[in-house]
Point group: D2
Chain length 204, copies 4
């Protein structure tokens, strides 16, 4: 059985839940598009997230890798297009030009494009009426570091799909963020299933 490694983050910033892990956990063990889901929980922080995902890749030798992460404020599911070699642990994207900023992997390329069939995933999400878009930035914090380090680690295995999906706020968080968009968890969980099915089909 081929595995798809699916990562989700621990709650942070005082939130009690992190929808990325709720969804990953929910899908753990499911068989979707010929891929068995292996879900792994990842700590928040650039270095820790990078180490956990590369460790899981070494251990599980997955056929595909998808990271999930929250991006509160985004209007819909974001299929990330690119990960950059920039690890800003203060989570302050606006100042990521500062000297204190360090690379995710020293000496490695400035960025890697996602290796997912983004257009096909987007088309399928559109068909199912699930709000989604392709995003040109995964930020410069733990989500980006996880995506970058997975892509870097698997850079010599271009046949392994690797990518990242950012989730908007979960509707249960809406009461604390009423001026920002959110989506119900079941909609987002379904979207991740659809994305995995498209990836599975592309590997068949």
């Amino acid at each position: 059985m081929q595995l798809l490694l699916l990562t989700g983050f621990e709650p942070f910033h005082g939130e009690r839940i992190n929808s990325s892990w709720e969804i990953a956990r929910q899908l753990d063990g499911e068989l979707i598009g010929g891929l068995q889901i292996k879900s792994v929980r990842v700590p928040v922080g650039c270095g820790k997230a990078a180490r956990r995902v590369t460790g899981a890749i070494v251990r599980y030798r997955p056929r595909a890798v998808i990271g999930l992460g929250e991006a509160g404020g985004r209007p819909c599911l974001s299929l990330e297009r690119v990960a950059i070699n920039l690890a800003d642990d203060r989570g302050n994207h606006a100042r990521s030009g500062d000297p204190g900023v360090t690379p995710v992997v020293r000496g490695a390329p400035d960025a890697y494009f996602a290796r997912l069939p983004l257009a096909a995933i987007l088309r399928e999400l559109d068909r199912k009426h699930i709000p989604a878009s392709v995003s040109l930035t995964a930020g410069a914090y733990a989500c980006n570091a996880l995506m970058y380090s997975a892509l870097h680690h698997l850079r010599r295995k271009p046949g392994v799909p690797v990518g990242f999906i950012h989730l908007p706020y979960d509707a249960r968080q809406s009461p604390r963020h009423r001026s920002l968009p959110s989506l119900p968890i079941p909609i987002m969980e379904n979207a991740v299933r659809i994305a995995i099915a498209v990836i599975g089909r592309s590997l068949a």
Copy 2:
């Protein structure tokens, strides 16, 4: 049987559908919280919308009135708090201080507050994990004109709940508005049912 008048708008701005009417039509005839839904389709335009809703109130003598309308770009369902006596048929809210702007009803008060149990509705939507908020402006176009004229027409019947709910983009419109939030129609339809049930309970 007591009626709840539920209005939705015709498609406009080149859109093929208007989710407000899709939802209203879907609920037409349903019995929710002891109220039977009577759905009415309303033309877009301040004067036309105002005349249609007051005509429907005269004809159906509803026990409660809820208007639905699209507000593309809003992050979630908006329970409108206030309607103002300003009819800007150019739909250009930004210039609604211009001399060309006319009142919805000449000589009438500057504004009316919604007469809905907003806090109870919001609480129930929160409990069901449906993203919603209370909004302080319904704009100055047809949605506001409809809400204002219904509140004005029923100003001497304070026991009749009257209000307006703005809907974000429907997820089927998402491909044309990817940078803006949207929600699947079934979620929004369910939200309207919940709101009506709360209103029905408040009348019991």
Copy 3:
């Protein structure tokens, strides 16, 4: 000499400055469009702000009243069109339908429109290339309470212009709010001078 009462707020929310008072103080004593500016500093809070502005109106008997206030996140100067009879001291507009919410003035109308030549002011700001728009909500907190209570207090003197201008973040606050718009103080100060000149001309 005819006075124009110009109010600005004290700093709050841990900010060291409040651009509304910085600008009001800067203009204090100036003669613009035949009106002498009398600037008054106002505490933040619905009741306190309402009492301070009505007290200043009683004391100075101004020929016109303009309130200034910060609205961090707004894209440009906002000429407020309407003040509503809703005082939400938790500053939580999103929940202002809650039962805890009280009116600014008990038994008074739901709202008052601003009494300023908004279109003429906007035209003049456009001509001078200063970003501005007409806004349909002044919120439900201290700014709105101040505007509402001034309009209510002067409701029998329709010849006295009364209004409110919301300011975006001041550019000095930009480093703490980099994802939000801001404008340099001198631009906003100049915008207020222009608005006052238009008001003065409309009274001549």
Copy 4:
């Protein structure tokens, strides 16, 4: 005399002016921080912009390169951190995962980081109270293609600073985009002078 190549774009999308070229033209020939400005007007379109900037680099052999471009809707000046090898001539960032999308330079790296003293520039803009931030995406259209191709062309000359600054709407465009932030041209022009002075100082 050492030259700094400063590019601005032609007007497009039916706009009569493009503030990026207005500013570049204004600075043409000025001596700032020991660098003489050589301004070049660039056509809109990925391929055309890429060819024009590399042509200008070949011809003028500049000591530094800065591209300017409009990004209507951005809240302030954006110092771009990264350019990606993705040329989406439909300007539809949301679908840039589509198969129709082509690289800026075939076979070249996925991205290049800007080579500007971003933190020092940001600090100086903060000190002068000019709203600015570091951005993690320059989009996937002509601005990004220009930035990418300049960085790629000069990849073996790491001592040559190369970067891109996105400008928000110019305040003269504000009347057509009232719900979006804008800044007066002189503020933005001054910001570009400040950035160039910091670059000049870093080369001294």
